[in-house]
Amino acid sequence: LSEPTIDPITFAGLGEMAGPEFVTELVDTFLDEAPRMLSALREAYAQHAVERFRREAHSLKSNSNTFGALTLGHSARDIELQGLDATKPEALDALDAEFARAAAALKALCNG
């Protein structure tokens, strides 16, 4: 079973709950915020800031799940759970790539 990049039910649910226009706005916010979170994550990683690293991953997970970006959410959760010490740099690269995918999908959903 290949998991969709964006879970349609969650995304649709968000739209129904908060209104489609607002969701578009919210997605924009996320797309603005997320790169900052990702770079903060890398920064924390570089500085070996364990707690900050965990928190940034947590935030990213939380936001991803809000939009139904389940894969991104899973990756973030994995990083959050295993912590800074067990995380390899490749995982952060993968996270970036997954975010790019999710971002593209979210944009497509908002414009479509």
């Binding site: 079973l1 039910i9 709950m17 209104g19 915020e33 947590h58 935030s59 939380s62 936001n63 809000t66």
Partner: protein, 957 residues
Amino acid sequence: MTSTQRWRLLLMTLVVACALLQAWAVPRLPLAYDPAIRGSLDLTMGPTMAGRARAITGLGERSPLSRAGAQLGDLLVFDHPSDGWRLLGAEEAIGLTLTRGDLRRHVEVRAVGDPERDALPVAVITLTYFAARLIALVVGGLIAWRQAASPPLRVLAAVFLSISIVSLYAFWPPGLFNDYVAILVNAVDSFVLYVGFVYFCLAYPAEHPHWRSTAVRRVFRAFFIANALYWTCFPFLVLGLLPDGMRAVIALPIDFLLSAIATVIAVPALWLSWHRTTGVVRQRLAWFGLCLGAVAIVNLGPSTLLPTPGYEIAWEIVAGAVTFAGIAGTGWALLRHRLIDIGFALNRLSVYAVLGLALLAVALVTQGGLSMGLDPVRHALLYGLVTGGLLLALFVPLRSAAERVVQRVLYPRWQVTEETLQRAVDAAAHVRGHDALIDHYREALSAYANGASSAFYDCREAECARIAGDLDAAPLSIVLEATDRSRVIDGRVPRAWREWTGEYAMVAPVVHRDRLTSWLVMGGRPDGRQYRPDEARTIAATVVNLDEDLQSEAQRVNRQLLEDKMAAEQRAREAAESANDAKSSFLATMSHEIRTPMNGVIGMSGVLLDTPLSADQRDVATTIRDSGEALLTIINDILDFSKIEAGRMDVESHPFDLRHCIESALNLIRPRAFEKNVDLVTAIDDDVPRAVSGDSTRLRQVLLNLLSNAVKFTEKGSVTLTVQRAEGDELKFSVRDSGIGLSPAGVSKLFQRFSQAESSTTRQFGGTGLGLVISKKLAELMGGTMTVESEGPGHGSTFRFRISAPATTLAPQTTATKSAVDPAMAERHPLRILLAEDNVVNQKLAMRLLKQMGYSADLAVNGLEAIEHIERQSYDVVLMDVQMPEMDGLEATRVLAERIEADRRPRIIAMTANAMQGDREICIEAGMDDYLTKPIRIDQLVEALLGVHSRKDSPIV
């Protein structure tokens, strides 16, 4: 080419040769009775004596021998021996020697034309012999064709073929014939006949175990060896090859001695063979003995069985007829492999005698009516044609009439048994029951057939099943091949069945519209007699009677069943109507009576929880509410189940948003999944229609049940819901978990009412076990099915179900948001809210949702800010993110709990996307009052806010 084929070819070549010879002889038949060319010496002679001499016993007026000076008592020897028995032509020169005492003279006389003498009897003799030869040819040919694999039967075929050639010389025209050749043929034929018979009798029993009775073999051998000896010597006697002195001293005694021995042995041999054997063997031996013996004895000729002078022609007729019958009888016995018992042979004989008399009368009348001006040949032909035609046309009715006469007059006992059977058939009218009828008929038939066993079969398509019977070896069912079927329909036993039916069994079929419906097989009789044709007909007619009785019995039983069924249905209907009314009202009462107090318990515990309580009291009240909800779930399950059982569960059909329905089910499950750290994954195919027609409430119920089960039984991993479009209007759902899985036995028990897969499950996880039964029933009510599969305990399980849900369109929604958002909620339930949340996205979303309900909230971006806000002004509720920088939600809560008394403190609702287990406990322990999982669901938010008691005493800032 196999040995059998070679033999067949050889013998068939012989058959063709014989047939050609006979064809050659046919045109010469008129010689025998055409007075224009038939010649005669007009004398009668005694039997052949030693040296071929025959005494003159009568001389006609016109005999050329009278003119040559011959007298009665003179001994006569023909120059050509065959002149003594062949048919002579008119004016043919015949050389002969006359002896009177010591006087011997040679004369040559001319045969005189003899139009008056014995034209008809001679024709009869000739025809009889000719027919016997023709029959021998046919029998020999058939044996050669069918039995070429068996050496004794090959020999027998050769014997019959040789018989078919011999005596043809009687038809050959005078002057052309070399009588030495004739004698040689005669001698060889005789030799072949007897040696062949002897060999047959020695070798044939070896192939047929029935014959291995020593006594029988011995007498048969003796009989045939004696005959063979006699016939081996005959040519010497006839041809006079011995010197005169020797002939007088040896030949004559030997001749008489051997003939006497042959005859004396032949009769006791037959008698002994009859008395020494029993059953089938006896019938078979008696028949062969009778037929072969008759042919042999007749062939001993006039020298042994001295015919009274003057009756030679009568003798010839009898001898010819006996030969004919013997050959035909042997052939019939061998080729049909069936025998007729002597009693029946006599019976038939008398029937045909009656028939013959009737025909004679017809013949006389016909002859009287014929014009007398015809020449003899045409006369005979016309006569034959008319009589034959009549015979052919009237044969069957005439025979039946003759049978009746014979039966009544000569065989009263047969008539008695037949009448007994008839009475039994009549009595069957009072027999009730299918099996009883069959048994009744079988008993009657058994009595009729001397205690023979039988079996009754009923046919469906190719297979026939045994219904009743005491024929031990009869199989319980038989598959009928086409050939078997046609044999049974013809009333014959298929060859392969003889193993279990016995040699002389018979089949009585019942046929409807060319279709075999049933049949009775009668085993062979204990005494070995086979069924006579009239008996077979009677038995067959009785079986048809049985079938008719069975049919009327079946109709009677059906009628009775129908009446009983209708009466029972009437009673059942009346009972069901009253029972159903009672059940319906009981269910209605129960659902109301149970739910009302439960709602009271749950509702009041909720109210109680909203009052200021100590931690212990709150704990107790929460337990009451949770238990009440659990009990209500169980009660709802039971009521649903009862409804389904009573057939009162109705499924509606209305258009609804499929994804919305799925989502609402997921929403209810999500918190628990989150609590257990179980991923909830959903995959809906793109081609799944948005709106479908069906019962959304029931679909949600099924989904909820499966999902909550999946979450319940999964400790870690994920629960995946997939929705796909199936063929037609069907939707395929599957709920896959990575939980405890199922054993094969568990799978089979799963959908049974009141049963969980393992009894330990109930203890560990609770539940009534009704949920899945209800879900399955609901899926079925929605036009689908439900199945489960599992790779085994510990490997998770997958529940699949289908429902019929045609795609449709939804009526346009007036509002974009359909969820339970009430814009006036803030008016009815005013609250001061602080949102403590660092994440921008989460801030915006939470603010938006609150705004939709009419609330505006203050914002704090970390725990410290939150504390500042709370200390500065009072809030009814704080929506507290757990993970925040500077100070997280837990720490902030602990600080607030320390600083502010419980009753003045705002209600703190945790909002967390935490993946940790025991999250909720941590939050509660830190002093938080409620707990929301992120992503935030609006209904959960509403519920959480409704749980907050607004402080109407405090002014809203």
